[in-house]
């Protein structure tokens, strides 16, 4: 990642009752700013406006704050990233509280409103920006970027606020700042024993100018970062009191379910709602672009009404594909050269003259995210303004999209982001389907309402992980050493949404579908990776770990397959071919030690390994299974999963471990059963009975080790996912000798999971 000199711009204001409020524009790319125009110029990202003007730039300071110190000495951290379960509302406050020297028992959290200008993740700016949104930074919670993106800016903010509290205390005590220290939300003057709480100093500190580049702590002196603290949102998630979007109510609200086309893209011809008027609580139906909005007094009435409404759709004009046709179609595409994304040395020609060349075609199904809380949007549209409550991973874009549809400027749309009951990418939708639909419904209905999705709506609603095929080719020389490696990906493009193209300019190169293929880590002289973009009308979207889940499966299982053919130990060969990658090697060695790789085990116990790096983190995982084979079936029981993680500084190790465990379960669901199929355009699954996910009795034991590190934090939200399916397949293959080229593994007739 680029190293940039950074300066932040803080504005501190007094609040009623003697508190202090800090607003910040954190800077992810100060090079632009150093040479840029004066701070208040339109279109530029930073700078304190000395006198906020009533122009769009002024609002960045006025309503939005991110640290609040109240007179009773509580510190509230207002968090820009979304909480979708990963622990944002704990990890980000820990980072601020560390440098602030805040009393952790008096730190609370608040979810920020939508505002990329104020709350956007600096990560996206540091990465070089995304078109017109560069100035803002995106307020998107995706790509495992929250902690690694906000880490520096939040530390600097905490340190800067600590500095003005110290200054205020020095004034009050009439002593040098240097004679003071801070601890647990108090400024202490050791010489006299004076102790002043941050709360009592807040009003005076609000008159000070915070430093733009405050000194930061030496990591060896951290008191919070690196500690396994209890989640700050644990109480309200253990007593039913947290209001998710599904629970949120506004006065006079009606509930809406939408009857959507049975196949993607089919236009609505006509509908008959006469039977619905017999349903108690039913109110009305309305045509919206996505179908028929069914309005009722509450969810149950809306759902009962929807069941008796009949509609006619022009299915022939919609998507007609059957997923059973896709393997052949995709293999045909993969028989042709694609767009090259990596070519080392001779590239594809490196296979020439090999002693042996192996080839395999892999196929991965469509997958639904299926977060526990189905999608929902509460919206109060008043003609000239609108307020929205929704759990979103991308609140700033959802706000923008809603405002466009409602014909309002974004500042007239107040977007309240709520904590989500899971996301996995579904709540950062590039198609903006649920927010567009809710805005259209709000226009059509004209009263406060909530659009609610049932589980069936969710499973059938599209925005799946795209169907993908990979063609892998590996050549070995006379000594059995890898001399060439090729990986071709055919997948539906993720970034096709015209809206995203317009907003971000992200159309020139589709790197999403080659993730994990391009980064193939092994030291092979000739490497070639190319891609095909397939277009159809099944809406697709990133799912937790995106294409890493499919490409890393292909890489890691095919690697084992080649090594098995050459009679080599797959783990030892990884060690040999990762000598130039010390972080990979370290986690690999650590996980091998944890699992006792190479030690003798009962003959029906088998292990598989995989390794993966992304999000500035590295992981190696070993899956251990019991395989008992009969003439008919190979019965597989999952036993244990070992994970060794290098994620740089682990801000909260227990939450890192929780994310790895979570990734393992998520990945096992997809490895074992996850599959959305279509027949003549119709999605065949609808709920957890035919779209099963992992349950308690199927969950193996887990051991996770986080390697010590003081490096900048890496991401962990997706890190635990990509290795699991290949490590599992490799474990089974160690017993059966098979290369499993199709996911889910339940598609292989011989495999039975007990």
């Amino acid at each position: 990642m680029k190293k940039l000199e950074r300066r932040d711009f803080l504005r501190v204001t007094a609040i009623a009752g003697g508190g202090l409020l800090v607003a910040c524009k954190w800077d992810g790319s100060s090079s632009r700013r150093r040479s840029g125009p004066p701070p208040s110029s339109p279109g530029q990202g930073g700078g304190i406006d000395p006198e906020p003007q009533p122009d769009p730039n002024a609002e960045r300071w006025t309503p939005n704050a991110f640290i609040r110190i109240s007179a009773d000495n509580f510190v509230t951290i207002i968090v820009g990233a979304a909480e979708i379960g990963q622990g944002t509302m704990t990890a980000v406050p820990m980072i601020v509280a560390e440098e602030l020297d805040a009393d952790w028992s008096r730190v609370t959290w608040e979810q920020s409103p939508a505002s990329a200008i104020t709350y956007g993740n600096p990560f996206w700016q540091a990465e070089g920006g995304l078109g017109d949104l560069d100035q803002a930074g995106l307020q998107i919670t995706a790509a495992s970027t929250t902690v690694r993106g906000y880490y520096d800016s939040q530390r600097r903010a905490g340190a800067a606020v600590r500095a003005i509290l110290l200054e205020a205390a020095a004034d009050q005590l009439n002593v040098d700042v240097g004679s003071l220290r801070t601890e647990n939300s108090f400024v202490i003057h050791p010489a006299t024993g004076s102790r002043l709480s941050y709360g009592s100093l807040a009003a005076a500190a609000a008159e000070k100018t915070p430093p733009s580049s405050p000194p930061l702590k030496d990591p060896s002196t951290f008191k919070l970062i690196g500690q396994s603290k209890q989640r700050l949102d644990a109480r309200e998630k253990s007593d039913g009191s947290l209001d998710y979007g599904f629970d949120f109510k506004i006065p006079d609200m009606v509930t809406v379910v939408v009857m959507r086309a049975p196949v993607f893209g089919a236009p609505l011809l006509d509908w008959d709602d006469s039977a619905a008027f017999e349903v108690d609580g039913f109110i009305s139906t309305h045509r919206v672009p996505s179908g028929i909005a069914v309005v009722a007094e509450n969810f149950w009435s809306a759902e009962q009404a929807r069941k008796v409404i009949t509609a006619t759709w022009l299915n022939a004009a919609g998507e007609t594909l059957s997923t059973s046709d896709l393997p052949e179609q995709f293999d045909t595409r993969n028989s042709l050269p694609g767009l090259p994304v990596r070519s080392d040395q001779l590239g594809e020609l490196g296979h020439l003259g090999a002693a042996q060349t192996l080839e395999a075609d892999f196929h991965f199904p469509y997958l639904a995210h299926a977060p526990m809380e189905p999608l929902n949007v509460t919206i109060d549209y008043r003609g000239d303004s609108c307020e929205i409550w929704c759990g979103s991973q991308w609140p700033d874009m959802d706000q923008l999209v809603a405002s466009t549809i409602l014909g309002l400027t974004p500042d007239r749309v107040k977007f309240n982001n709520l904590l989500s009951g899971g996301g996995f990418g579904r709540r950062a939708c590039l198609g903006f389907d649920y927010i567009q639909e809710a805005a259209h419904v709000a226009r059509a209905v004209g009263r406060p309402l909530k659009v609610v999705w049932t589980r069936e709506d969710d499973i059938r609603g599209g925005y799946y992980r795209p169907y993908t095929a990979c063609r892998l080719k590996a050549s070995v020389d006379g000594q059995g050493n890898l001399q060439a490696w090729s990986h071709r990906v055919a997948s539906q493009t993720l970034l096709i949404s015209p809206l995203v193209e317009a907003a971000t300019g992200l159309v020139t190169e589709e790197v999403q579908t080659s993730q994990g293929a391009t980064e193939m880590p092994y030291d092979v002289p000739n490497v070639y990776v190319d891609t095909h973009q397939v277009v159809n009308r099944v809406p697709v979207l990133w799912v937790r770990s995106v294409a890493n889940a499919t490409n890393v499966y292909a890489v890691e299982t095919f690697f084992d397959h080649v090594m098995r053919g050459a009679g080599k130990d797959p783990l030892a060969q990884r060690q040999v071919l990762l000598q130039k990658k010390p972080r990979h090697l370290a986690v690999l060695n650590a996980v091998a030690a944890m699992a006792g790789w190479g030690q003798s085990t009962p003959s029906n116990i088998h292990r598989g390994v995989a390794v993966f790096a992304s999000y500035a983190s590295v992981i190696a995982q070993i899956v251990e299974v019991e395989v008992n084979s009969s003439s008919e079936r190979d019965h597989v029981t999952l036993k244990r999963v070992f994970s060794a993680v290098d994620c740089g500084t682990a801000v909260n190790p227990d939450l890192v471990e929780a994310q790895i465990e979570s990734g393992i379960v998520f990945a096992l669901s997809t490895a074992l059963f996850g599959e959305i199929t279509l027949e003549n355009g119709e999605v065949q699954q609808s709920n957890f009975h035919d779209y099963p996910v992992l349950r308690m009795y199927q969950t193996p034991q887990m051991q996770t080790r986080i390697l010590p590190s003081t490096e900048h934090p890496g991401g962990v939200g997706e890190l635990g996912v990509p290795c699991i399916a290949p490590a599992l397949a490799n474990a089974i293959a160690s017993a059966t000798g098979e290369l499993y080229t199709v996911l889910p593994l339940s598609r292989h007739a011989r495999l039975a999971f007990d």
């Binding site: 009191s241 904590l419 009951g421 069936e456 929780a658 979570s662």
Partner: protein, 159 residues
Amino acid sequence: MADQKKSIAFTVNGRVEQPVVNENKPLLWVLRDELELTGSKYGCGRALCGACTVHVDGQPTRACVTPVEAVAGKSVTTIESISESALGARVQRAWKSLNVPQCGYCQSGQIMAVVALLQAIPRPSDRDIDEALSGNICRCGMYPRIRKAVHELAAGGFA
């Protein structure tokens, strides 16, 4: 459409309630919409995920498929009052202490299922845990922590 509304009396969290509702309406939606108890969650509507688990006369019950008339005269306990029992309060302490929740959406149902399990089997085996809790889906995958919490509770922890 046989939408007959009638008054159905039952006890919820120790209070007698008498909502006037369609007798076929699932208990979950009566709790959530009529009685404003939103701690019990909708996740599937078909008793597949367990997010709506409540106790009816002490038995774990999927409120999303239980017609409200089926609880007439009975006693319903939801997550909102589970802390009033010593066991319920211990389970909640375990949840906080072990960082069991991630997104948290399934956890009302998980906690209700765990309380019912520990009431029925104070020292459950792993197999007992599998049988009692496999009906409750956690998409964040916190099963290892739930299992650990149950074992620690059974050993007297979080008192």
